[in-house]
Symmetry: C2
Subunit: 193 residues, 2 copies
DNA sequence: CTGCCACTGAAACGAGTGTTTCAGTAGACC
DNA sequence: GGTCTACTGAAACACTCGTTTCAGTGGCAG
């Protein structure tokens, strides 16, 4: 009979946190229960008991990752800023060394989510696009900016940030990529349309 | 005794092409030899004989995908254009429905390559960044453009294209994402610095 | 003491994995 | 005909996988 996932419990929270750290270190792709359980001081039996199935565990880990992202988004939006300000703050966060592994996991999950629309990843990609667009769309509009074309501006800002992130994660060349962001901000600062 | 990979042969080329098509359809992540072999009219025995190992097969498939990308890059650079022209041509290619599956595979491989620097993917991410930067860097410079800052311009152009691609693959919203590209091109057309 | 509860250990199940062993077959070249 | 090369089929090997079964812990409430 299939195990039913516990919705929450101290032990579950603790093991989820450790599993999350383990996945940040080793990647999601070839994670499997026995090595993971051994590394975090548990057993496959218990993981299945607490999360229902491996897919349930993966979903929980992905949600854990997303919550870290959402925490930043909330803090970034808090003193309301205009679009350039948000882009700058977001890039500072994305480029931080301490977020490399989270963001690598993010790209991995994004890729799998696109390639395999079933599975525990399913809506991961669409969901994070929505999360980020929501943050940037909340930007305080510049005075002379007409609302028409705002969607394009926000989409462009998101594209710049994500594209730069891909480059940074592959090459580690912070200087070059940050210069590109600066160039984009110059562009935003231009007057007219 | 380990099988040695054939470097090339008619049969190998034929099976590689079919395996590539199969992977475009089903993704790389949970590809395995027996189902693949059955689908393309072969057997695990033969795939191992021709490609040496599963990793060898994956490497061959990834190279096959890269060669499709390189073919476009070569054609795109051929009548030398300036940066906006290249961006426009590249976006037309990226946004084409017929390239969706190739590009999805591309993102999946990119993610795995970042998460697992060993394995058959190893340098996939770094390599494609280099491929694309090379194309864009070959852009005919605008007359008044100083060479300083060219690297930033090229990196920004690449980031815009890749970020837009991520968005497009997840949402399928061609209109919104293409509008963002247009907005970027407007930006490029601005005079000054 | 008796239930109940969240949690755990050991072992097995059945299926699927990449890979190897052995034994071929079809065709070209001498 | 004989030999060589390219390719192939069937079966086994030695795993690992997610999951299940069964049999327990220790602690806390009544």
């Amino acid at each position: 009979m299939a195990e039913i996932a516990r919705t929450s419990s101290p032990r579950r929270d603790e093991l989820l946190e450790r599993a999350y750290q383990y996945v940040l270190e080793h990647g999601l792709a070839d994670m499997s229960l026995r090595p993971l359980a051994a590394a975090i001081g548990s057993s496959p039996r218990v993981l299945l008991f607490l999360f229902g199935s491996k897919d349930g565990l993966v979903r929980a880990i992905l949600n854990r990752a997303r919550s870290e992202e959402l925490a930043f988004l909330a803090s970034a939006g808090q003193p309301p800023a205009d679009l350039p300000g948000l882009v700058q703050a977001t890039w500072r966060w994305l480029a931080g060394e301490q977020h490399r592994r989270l963001l690598t996991l993010w790209v991995e999950a994004y890729g799998r989510s696109l390639a395999d629309p079933a599975g525990p990843w399913s809506d991961f990609a669409r969901q994070t696009v929505a999360d980020w667009l929501a943050l940037l769309a909340a930007a305080r509009p510049a005075a002379e900016q007409p609302p028409a074309g705002a969607a394009a501006d926000v989409t462009l800002a998101l594209a710049v940030l994500r594209g730069a992130l891909l480059d940074l994660l592959a090459t580690g060349d912070t200087a070059r990529v940050s210069a590109a962001i600066t160039r984009y901000l110059d562009c935003l600062a231009q007057p007219g349309r």
